[in-house]
Symmetry: D2
């Protein structure tokens, strides 16, 4: 319980799936006063009209979308969330940061610290390279202290959280050979956002399973950045995403050679040490394996591991909700850290 | 086109998903006279009553399930398909083979040649170990000539076909390091058969993705047996299946280190040489990746490959219909070979 | 906001889908102290072990299932929820009520006031017919005042709420001809509970749509009871449910002849008068139609209506979450009324 | 078996879902030589490239899409199928018919005989009203003899077949009161065609059920036209479609007051007389109800009926595959009639 007064919050570009989920959480957050939601296409409509599932909830019938300049939102709000498309977000973020505002960006624009790596993965020069160094990568389990004082937080892509949290403690403990890391991920269809493209039509996704983005998916940029930082050496991983007909959720199955003999208990001890106190990491017992249906609509990540004694390989599996843990939930957790609230406020 | 007279065929244990799909194909096969279908629980009912989707199709309204001894079916039929549960099939198969009949078994009972390996993976002694040597593993692309003259064919499990066909030519060509093979597979729910268990209820599978059978799934026995035979050395692979909410289909994504530098074209040449003439193998162009919706309700396997120059790893992806290619389609293809019909008869 | 102290609550038979959803809400309810959850099959396990999605939530890792007599639970708790199967619930409920406890029953056992109607629809004599009169049918929008003082509340079946709320104001206003009421309902698969039967396997429900329970589904008993009470005459309705491959949700499309000419506005006025102040009823504008995806995971019912001037018929459509509105959400709303809390406590 | 030579067939506008299914059937039809498939956007590509699931099937790897004038296709082919969008089809159809060709149109353009009714339902004047009279509505069970000699066949919409076949015999037998007909239909998402609109995205359809097109869906025009013709009086029906997350299939549940007392057997006799000899109509026993999973990928319609003695109402339920029975299957059946082949050729 906190005695701080509510924080004024704005959301820019709130009409996609990520924005919708974020607004849902912000509306219910006990410490937040949602003062502005903006959208070019929805300006003038209430939240309840644009997101019918929110109608009659709290402010949803009264708060209207507006369409001001980003800097105007910065004047109204203490913290601004950006739920804009990749590429568009950088400019709004730069304006807000230069005005001294605090910004939580859900796009990819500030996730990569090195402008060259950004150009490699996104195919163009970064519009505000000076800000890349100031941005903090928004995974509380990795960068908690930096997030507390960050002015600009870059929330991760949907896959990276599910891959980084299982791998980082193992790399830090030097338990695995970093050159052998292979990741097979399965994602629900909302991972692609609300793109109106033939590939994401119901009849093209239903009763379909398919790999895509092979071999060099964009999220590799941020995944390898964080893994390399933790390992103290350049890490390259194999990553293959698959599209699966569920609305929400990601499963990542990760393979790596063990450096030395280990058993489930010794690996468990590494995870326990890293995450035993984390509010949103659940380490599963050896009797269970992750299932996305246990994490969707929550901010939890479920992690399990097995050792194959025949191959001396470690297999780590994780499950998250790509919509909550990727965007809104994790972003709200960062917000709580930045503002000094209970880290789980509005999330349980 | 053939001038041979129809072959009399019987199916023992036809009331599961595998049996249903098999009966569907047999009913439409131009060279088959389906003379007996048996089922303990459905005896006395017509095919159309038990499988309403077949009602009004050809013999479905007149042919009735019976419940005789296997040997009685052997007297009526030139070839007998066994669609019985694992463990039950061995006994029926042994009786039929000893009577001189020709048998195509869809269960796991005759897939493993080494009784010790059978015991390792199935947890009990094989009831008819002398027959294991005589059984031919029913993948035409591997054992075509042996299948032609086989008396007993053991059809593969649902995963192995999707893994063996991509890997065998690569191993034979010594293009990959066999110690680095990792397979992540995704399967539709019918892979489990018509098991009435809570895990397979709609509400437990829908909007769920989950790994299972980690790290030592039963199908590893037959996968490693066939890979080892092709490679001329003992091969151990990493295999992790995942359950996904589709009714049909399997995607296997396979990773292996390249032994030497290769490119997509040189790998393509290996596949082209192996499968260029195969009627049911489709090698995809570099513009496409497999998608189960292109193979379900067919007997095709779609195969694609990519090389990651950053890791010098080869990624091969395949898609099959677990119900057609696993059981009925492949079994009918074996039947055609055994009886001298066009290999694709009844399958296109 | 209330200053009352928390109420001690127990749940008997909490291991089905209804119990799971109920426990989820009770755990998060700000005014509830969950003191006992019972289950014969899960006794000794924690909530988090039985429902992995709750692990790490509040008391889920510490509270264990027990298996006492119902009367023992009654001694610990101020209010007891029964999530037992039909037929089993009556006995536990009778014991608790006779001991003076307050009971909210999620089964069908106390929904029918007339023992003869109960026998007609459930095929047996009621075990505690004297209690039927004392039970209050748990739809707050109909029986709010009686619920406040009720000792025994019988929560409705999954379909009735979606049918009663649209029809009752129209019958009271004598706007429709009661002899012409026809209801076509579509339900997600959890409506059947966690029954491990072949009909509810994934492969039998996925890509399937089917009517069932035609023409006399059990829920007609309670539907006609409540409609008749409101209309002041015996009402018989046509009701045909359909099973659809979604996990959650019900759509009811209701047809009735208008008694006199009416327009969308005059019908809207009837609904507005009835439900304008209701916290969980949303009357949609003429621009929108109900969609279950807007109500699942909420306690809302969305209602829309259209008049066909060609036929002088009124079509009313409603959407609810069969798991929340049917069982847990509505039951918690009743609990709030019974205990004098804000009616929406724990539900928004 | 027939001794006729193959018929040369062309398909104009073959790149939507209807065209794809049609091409699949035409490729496998034993009496058809597919000489031209056209598509503006796919010209130059093979069938196998545009529809990867057909690759390696018969001519799919060699036959290329072209983009000629419709009249050019008419010179190559004896029969031309039109799978063009509504509105576009009329012009191509008119050209072909005026050149003396035989045309089977899958669009809505020639379904309505009365230009005024066309204008009422489609909001514009018909571009070739003189042809409306010559077009035959392509439901073989209704217009078999006219189809045999037709020059222009207009295949029905996806819903009408599922509604007309159950109702027509009942109206002809004067068993039901035509003013009381109400139809609730459930459709899979491919019913909307391959429209790239947000409403049909996976994430908007999955876990969603919703009515739409209330109260006056376009298909009412053709439904009422055919019902009125059969009844000898103007019939107006209530029709409410619902969108359900399956790829294929339609369920129609139809309600009507019985004119006189009837029982299941007497209604069954009416259906048996009408459809006892029909190759693609299956009348279900009283033990079963329709389920779309029994008809998808087939050309069958399954019909069941129940009488509610409490209301004296008849409930008739039907199931079809909206893609096969609506478009390709029924169109091929018409083709067989027009060309004198076995009516079921290429369809079983």
């Amino acid at each position: 319980m906190t005695t701080k007064s509510p924080t004024r919050v704005g959301v820019i570009g709130a009409s996609g799936y990520a924005g919708e989920e974020l607004v849902r959480l912000l509306l219910k957050h006990p410490e937040i006063d949602l003062v502005a939601v903006t959208s070019r296409q929805s300006a003038g409509k209430t939240l309840g009209e644009v997101f019918p599932r929110f109608a009659h909830e709290l402010k949803a019938d009264s708060l209207k979308f507006t369409n001001p300049e980003a800097r105007e939102v910065g004047k109204l709000a203490d913290v601004v969330f950006l739920a804009l498309p990749h590429g568009v977000s950088a400019e709004a973020g730069a304006d807000l940061v230069r005005d001294g505002g605090r910004v939580i960006d859900l796009s990819a624009d500030f996730r990569i610290r090195d402008p060259k790596v950004y150009a490699e993965f996104y195919g163009k020069q970064h519009p505000a390279p000076d800000l890349l160094e100031r941005a903090v990568y928004g995974v509380p389990e990795i960068h908690r202290e930096k997030i507390r004082s960050a002015q600009l937080v870059a929330c991760p892509g949907c896959y990276p959280t599910s891959i980084l949290l299982p791998l980082l403690p193992l790399l830090r403990a030097k338990a695995i050979d970093p050159r052998t890391i292979i990741v097979a991920s399965l994602s629900g269809v909302t991972g692609a956002g609300r793109k109106v493209e033939a590939d994401y039509l119901f009849a093209e996704c239903n009763e379909s399973m398919r790999p895509y983005g092979i071999p060099k998916h964009r999220h590799l940029g941020e995944i390898e950045q964080e893994l390399s930082a933790a390992a103290g050496e350049k890490i390259i991983v194999q990553f293959t995403p698959h599209l699966v007909p569920v609305s929400r959720g990601i499963i990542s199955t990760i393979y790596a050679d063990l450096k030395e003999k280990a058993d489930a208990a010794s690996i468990g001890a590494i995870f326990e040490k890293a995450y035993g106190e984390e509010p949103f990491v659940r380490l599963l017992s050896q009797a269970r394996l992750p299932d996305t249906k246990n994490v969707v609509h929550t901010n939890f990540i479920d992690i399990a591991w097995r050792i194959d004694s025949r191959t001396n390989r470690l297999i780590v599996m994780s499950a998250i909700d790509n919509r909550t843990q990727w965007t809104s939930g994790q972003a709200v957790q960062c917000f709580n850290l930045m503002c000094g609230y209970d880290e789980a406020a509005g999330l349980s």
